[in-house]
Symmetry: C2
């Protein structure tokens, strides 16, 4: 991996624990405001609505809109479906804003710091730049560069994201690695010529996670943590 | 300035000493390769060719090309004009690459670190992302985000750069400050609604500098260093 000059990270699930963070935030919110609710169910369903929302942008059925907009739009239906009543517009906006303050996995910040001493590090996320800056500051994760979907006005796995990031790095795809906890993201990156690093996150989707428990292809590097990835490509 | 959420920095001249760095590099190069040359004159003329090169892009006469490309194109004529002979293509590429390794002014890195604890910090430069990443790593300057001309495919003072950065920050222009050593850059930012911070760099252009020695308008903040700027808007 000595030819790898830059490592770009998927963020949701790979670096931050979106599910655990949101369930904790909303459970506290429910307790404080006297609302019972299946917060875990809501969070899972919200994340479930994420791919269809982005697909409407990818297909061209809807113009590019950032994740705050997509997630705000899907939240109204989900609150109704989960019979969580009386949540004001301001409270809904607050719920969306919690996606900007997700906690990193315990190994993320230190692993990123170790890797940054050796390589260019960055994000390559379907989050937007403002959200990613907030996550980085919240979680004390330092990067050399932030690439988000709004720079490319495309969502992964559209090729414009992977190849757009390589173009901005002024590097050939073979000198850039995508690191992700999701086999499908890595497959799309590999199809564009990028190197691939798999970091399994077996509790990302909760205790009964079925997907992405293991590498489904011969990814260039497989590592149990960001720090282990840094060691392997250093 | 409590409403300012993000401070974006011009880089060439504001954070890094392009002139002193390049003259030192090329003087050493000349000594090592046995070439006499008016390196200071060459560097000044090279920088002088910078605005006309970008203007051909701004006007639409040429498609967007990054600074490496523009500076490589202007170098050939200048080497001939300064009668510096026998510089190979590889050496010319090396000369262009030195723009990626300019030294920061002595106050830049520490001042940026202090400011970053309080605000979102970033670049807003006519350099391209790859060059800016290199400058940041070379100079140990940490930023929350890197905005370069190739993200917008426009050069400052085109409005697309200032307003494009605000859009990616998801902030109104009035919550974003441009910090720069150049009155014209600040005037363009103010015309887009951004806040403005002036940091004079009276030796940027050498001992006989005539321009930008002082603030030419009532910029929102005037500070003698990045650290002083951080103090004033903290």
């Amino acid at each position: 991996m000595s030819g790898v000059r830059a490592v770009l990270f998927d963020v949701f699930g790979t670096l931050v624990d979106w599910r655990g963070s949101l369930i904790a935030d909303f459970t506290t919110f429910g307790e404080k405001t006297g609302r019972a609710g299946d917060w875990a169910g809501l969070v899972d369903a919200w994340r479930g609505a994420y791919q269809p929302s982005m697909q409407r942008v990818r297909s061209g059925a809807e113009p590019f809109a950032n994740l705050d907009t997509l997630q705000r739009a899907s939240l109204d239906d989900l609150l109704e479906k989960f019979a969580i009543e009386g949540v004001s517009a301001a409270e809904r906006d607050w719920m969306v804003s919690r996606w900007h303050h997700l906690r990193p996995w315990p190994d993320s910040a230190a692993g990123l710091a170790a890797l940054r001493a050796k390589k260019i590090t960055g994000t390559l996320s379907n989050g937007h730049v403002a959200l990613l800056i907030s996550l980085a500051k919240t979680g004390d994760m330092g990067f050399d560069v932030i690439f988000g979907a709004d720079i490319f006005r495309h969502y992964k796995p559209d090729r414009e994201t992977y190849l757009g990031a390589c173009a901005l790095l002024d590097l050939p795809p073979g000198a850039v690695m995508l690191a992700a906890a999701h086999n499908s993201d890595l497959a799309a990156a590999r199809a564009c010529g990028l190197k691939t690093g798999f970091i399994p996150r077996p509790s990302e989707y909760g205790p009964s996670q079925q997907r992405d428990l293991r590498a489904e292809a011969d990814w260039d590097v497989i590592a149990e943590s960001v720090g282990a990835l840094a060691d392997k490509i250093g």
